[in-house]
């Protein structure tokens, strides 16, 4: 019943079987002052019941704004560490580093149900509020959010709408296989990267289409990654969540615009 109510509210393009295998949302912020390695363990002790496994990872060095780049440069003497906290069935992940908080969802089995943004956003909010409360209890400052990020990772497997890279224009209408002199044969591999400045919001949408092999089952796929990072006008909850929703809107509309109606049909477009 609740699902029907939520679905009834959806106005953005929606698909029965979207190719998304992973989504992530979160915030980039200026490095938290006085953050040290032991805080990772203290934070984990708070969430261990829901996220029982942890892994250390090298940090993401994104620095997509001048403020973040400067802050990252100034704090580089600190031990560069990122922590991944996994939930029980390893479908969700929290990533923490001294200037980043992300929440990932991934599809594990081929029959796993796609978790919609409407389902994930409340989970993310809960975890972010928990993180903020942790910082407050430890006497650390509230993060100054610089960027809100939403990323969708899609796998378009060979055999699902395409067989060779000569078929690429049937997936992505902006790709043309035409050449000036008709000398070149059809491409063996194609990769694309595109960046778009957002309209009405300070931020960018980046799309990357990469030919790849999935490590879990060695299937050939085109990994289509759509990322939106936008800058909130303040770090207030209202503003950063609004910014996150805006980022997600651009991801969905950007993905739909970038891909073809033929593929939308294969994925079962509902709206």
């Amino acid at each position: 019943m609740l699902e029907k109510v939520v679905a009834a509210k959806r106005t953005l393009p929606d698909f029965e079987n979207p190719p998304a295998v992973e989504t992530l949302m979160g915030f980039h912020f200026s490095p938290i002052e006085k953050w040290q390695g032991p805080y990772f363990g203290l934070f984990w002790s708070r969430i261990k019941k829901d996220y029982p496994r942890v892994e250390l990872q090298p940090p993401v060095v994104a620095a997509p704004t001048a403020e973040l780049a400067l802050a990252q440069f100034q704090s580089r003497v600190e031990l560069p560490v990122r922590c991944w906290f996994f939930n029980e069935d390893e479908t969700r992940l929290i990533q923490v580093q001294n200037n980043l908080f992300l929440h990932n969802w991934r599809k594990v089995g081929p029959t796993d149900k796609y978790l919609h943004y409407d389902d994930l956003r409340p989970l993310f909010e809960k975890e972010w509020q928990g993180f903020r409360k942790f910082l407050e209890d430890e006497g650390l400052v509230t993060p100054a959010v610089q960027l809100c990020e939403v990323t969708y990772v899609n796998h378009i497997d060979r055999g699902s709408g395409w067989e060779t890279f000569a078929d690429l224009s049937e997936l992505f209408p902006n790709w043309s296989p035409k050449t000036s002199e008709n000398y070149l044969p059809s491409p063996e591999l194609v990769a694309m990267n595109a960046s778009y400045a957002l309209k009405g919001v300070e931020g960018r949408l980046q799309i990357s289409a990469q030919p790849a092999v999935r490590q879990t089952d060695a299937k050939e796929t085109i990994q289509l990654t759509v990322t939106v990072r936008c800058k909130p006008s303040s770090s207030s909850n209202e503003e950063i969540y609004r910014c996150l929703d805006e980022a997600r809107k651009w991801v969905v509309l950007g993905f739909t615009d970038f891909t073809s109606p033929k593929m939308h049909k294969i994925w079962g477009r509902k709206i």
Partner: protein, 152 residues
């Protein structure tokens, strides 16, 4: 497989850390991978008795395991492996790098055997090592491959 360890290895080889979880290997990062995957997949076309000695067809599970292995160790610094059918329905992958050599055999029962050749003189016992990769074969295999190319 522990992707955290792989992630560190990738860093060692100059690839930046990512914030996405699902792992893929870019076909541009290692151009030999597509060839290797095609050759492994091609083994499925061999008929029963392909060797004239009554060998069964190549096992689909062994093919899938060999393909997964290749996808997990797809680094540009590695050469294209020799792909071969093996008696009993198994798949063999063989890498040569100077005097060093590595062979992995993917069996229908899921076992992965290895043969490591450490020097040209094969009459010396210490120049050869054989065994079974029982736990996380991709990770153990990657360590061997890094040894072979001199990264560790």
């Amino acid at each position: 497989m522990s992707y955290a360890v792989l992630e560190r290895t990738r860093q060692q080889l100059g690839e930046p850390a990512q914030n996405q979880w699902s792992k893929v290997t870019s076909l541009f990062a290692a151009p030999w991978v597509l060839d290797a995957l095609d050759r492994i997949a091609g083994l499925a076309r061999l008929p029963r008795n392909w060797d004239g000695y009554g060998s069964p067809r190549i096992d689909p599970g062994a093919i899938a395991a060999a393909r997964r292995f290749v996808a997990s160790v797809a680094f540009e610094s590695l050469p294209l492996p020799n792909v071969s059918p093996v008696l009993g329905g198994s798949v063999g992958l063989q890498w040569r790098y100077g005097e060093k050599e590595l062979e992995f055999t993917f069996h229908p029962n899921g076992e992965v055997e290895f043969l490591r050749v450490l020097g040209a003189d094969l009459d010396r016992d210490e120049n050869m090592e054989t065994g079974t990769l029982r736990h996380e074969p991709e990770m153990a295999g990657l360590k061997f491959l890094l040894w072979m190319t001199g990264c560790r």
